[in-house]
């Protein structure tokens, strides 16, 4: 069996980012941190997509994670980054565990639309909640690391470092998970679910587990995005946010756990460049680039890296 190079590649990338971070321009640091937060959500979507499920409502867990982090700050003045992220992850994971009993029974378009519907319910509820700022949302406390907040010039680097470490651990764990029997079941479920059942495995159980993992990752990403941006609002649960995650998933491809983060970063860069060069038509630039990827790299950007190895 070929050795898995992914952990080593990941470690190299993490080391490179941590080393280059202090010298990089501040705006790139922010762009990268947001990309890591979105990458975590997409990592979860990738797990689902490997068994053929597309969630059009992953923003639900992104938003739950963000609001869990925001509420901890608002009600209990908690500002530690790791505490907030843990809270976001647990809140989303627990919600997914309950909803999973319903959603794990559905496949294809029914799964997609049901998840979309649930995220829009959360959006509707949050918009009606005036105590949480309704559609305007509210600001988070300035984030701290173990009770400590560095000088303004270093805050961005601190958040980036935290994000990189968290994303690294998450990617390693998911990489490991994909190689366990339960993880390997995903392509089988996608190809022929009846055969999976005949083999004695429960597709519904496997999907339930994957759904909870994906939600926990989205919650983690949501909490990270919230502490990075400093403001949350119900639009985090809106279907366009879910659409953005699907967009990145398609852009990135499902070949490797590094792909979601790469996809999120490229998405961020394309969006920023598009905003800069064509403020009136940036959506067109974004759409065209996705079309180009779909036409020329049907398996996403990651196929650029995996093509050589496969042959």
């Amino acid at each position: 069996m070929r050795r898995d190079l992914t952990p080593r590649t990941l470690a190299l990338i993490v080391a490179a980012i941590l080393a280059a971070g202090p010298f990089a321009p501040q705006w790139t640091v922010f762009l990268l941190t947001v990309a890591l937060a979105k990458g975590l959500v997409v990592l979860g979507l990738m797990i689902l997509l490997r068994c053929g499920l597309v969630s059009f409502g992953q923003a639900l867990y992104y938003c739950i994670g963000a609001y869990a982090a925001g509420l901890l700050g608002l009600r209990y003045e908690v500002s530690g980054v790791f505490t907030l992220m843990l809270a976001g992850m647990l809140a989303s994971g627990a919600t997914a565990f309950v909803l999973g009993f319903l959603l794990a029974r559905y496949r294809s378009i029914f799964f997609g639309l049901l998840s979309l519907a649930i995220s829009m319910i959360l959006y509707g509820l949050l918009v009606k909640t005036e105590a949480l700022g309704s559609s305007d949302g509210f600001n988070l406390l300035p984030s701290t690391l173990a009770g400590f907040r560095p000088a303004d010039a270093w805050v961005r680097y601190m958040v980036l470092a935290v994000a990189v470490v968290v994303a690294f651990v998450a990617a390693l764990l998911v990489n490991r998970y994909l190689k366990t029997p339960l993880g390997r079941l995903a392509p089988a479920i996608k190809d022929n679910e009846i055969r999976v059942e005949y083999m004695g495995a429960s597709a519904r159980h496997a999907i339930h587990v994957k759904y909870v993992i994906a939600a926990a990752l989205a919650g983690l990403g949501g909490a990270l995005a919230a502490t990075t941006v400093g403001h949350i609002d119900p639009e985090m649960a809106y279907w366009t946010t879910s659409g953005e995650f699907i967009f990145i998933t398609i852009l990135a491809g499902t070949g490797n756990v590094i792909a979601p983060f790469l996809g999120a970063l490229i998405f961020g860069i394309i969006q920023s460049v598009a905003f800069d060069i064509s403020p009136n038509t940036w959506q067109m630039v974004l759409g065209s680039s996705l079309l180009v990827v779909i036409v020329f790299l049907p398996n996403g950007l990651w196929s650029l890296f995996s093509r050589g190895k496969a042959s």
């Binding site: 922010f30 305007d136 949302g137 400093g230 639009e235 961020g268 969006q271 920023s272 800069d276």
Partner: protein
Amino acid sequence: MNAFKKAVAAAVVAALVPAFAAAQEAPLKIGVVSFLSGAAAGPFGVPARNSAEIMFEMLNAGKVPAPYATKGFGGALLHMNLVDESGGTTTQVTEFRNMVQRDNVDMVIGYISSGSCLGIAPVAEELKKLTVFFDCGTPRIFEERGYKYVFRTAATATMDSVGAALYVRDLRKGKIKTIAGINQNYAWGQDSWSDFEASMKQLEPGVKVATSQMPKLFAGQYNAEISTVLAAKADVVHSSFWDGDLEALILQGGPRGLFKHRTVILTTGETAMYKLAGSIPDGVVIGARGPYGPYAPNNELNKWFSKTFQDRYGVPPNYAAYHMAQAILGTKAAWEKALAANGGKRPSQDQVIAAFEHLTFESPAGKVEMAIGAGHQAITETAYGVTRKVHGKMTVANVKRYPAEMVNPPDGVKAADWIASGFKKK
């Protein structure tokens, strides 16, 4: 050796040229943010961008009437860095950082959505960049914390609701027993209604709320809500609907007599009054979120602004366009005040901020005072009137103006507390 000397000479010249140009009068790079796509683009974002384009061009040409006749900001020409406000708060915060840290803008003027403003304000503070909000309405920004680098040159939405309550009270003195509302269920609609309701209860003690309808934003169909409001038989109906929703309400409510038997107040009605002139009967109370559009004073600045805008874009400027012009002129006034205080030398950002605090300046809508929010939040007078068609042309009649201090809270008092205290002056 000769080649080496040439190279050195070229390098020296190359190094000096930009330095020399900078010593002349470097242009000011201003980030301008407004909705260019999405639902808010048509009614607010695009008129605001158009207004910014006119103002930048005319200021650079030195064609704006006194007191703004100098070119650009005190001679420094203006360069616009235009950004779309859509894409959500995360995108907006990212783009704000890009503007400040990548494109090195000297200041940012923008933001229509209150959500954007709440999200951007702490970032502006973190990056220490002068940021002027031109349109967003929520009073929360300067109520929740103080900012050094953030200013807002338009009054908050509180003014619209308090002004609306004062106007209907004056219009139907002593005859208001019940009020009803039909507002969109999101922050703007909720805040507009709660301020209006609280103000009415202060102005007419004993007034009852017949019904408060809160349909979903952009629902499009309001017949059920209109039925409920009609059945409730309220004396006054308040709505802060805007754009498509406002048009839908007028078109669906008109034939059912919504505007005939009760006083209906449309706080942003100005944006639809010309387009739907045929569907709005006489006697509907129309607001323009301040002394804008039909309520703008008849001064030189306004005559010039509304004519220039009308000539270029074929429509009169709406309040979003006025807000943008107001923000640009306010910043220019602050900049030039700082320039004068600095003995004619280009002022630093801190000097501009010092000049901006508690500044009073003229805009096409009259006097603007940066009076509250510790000198960072503007207050203006406001005006309301009722529709009246004169020879088939839509006009406003029975216009009443309310001075700034009467419709805005004093410095340091939260809007809701101020209304609850019976509009107590400090």
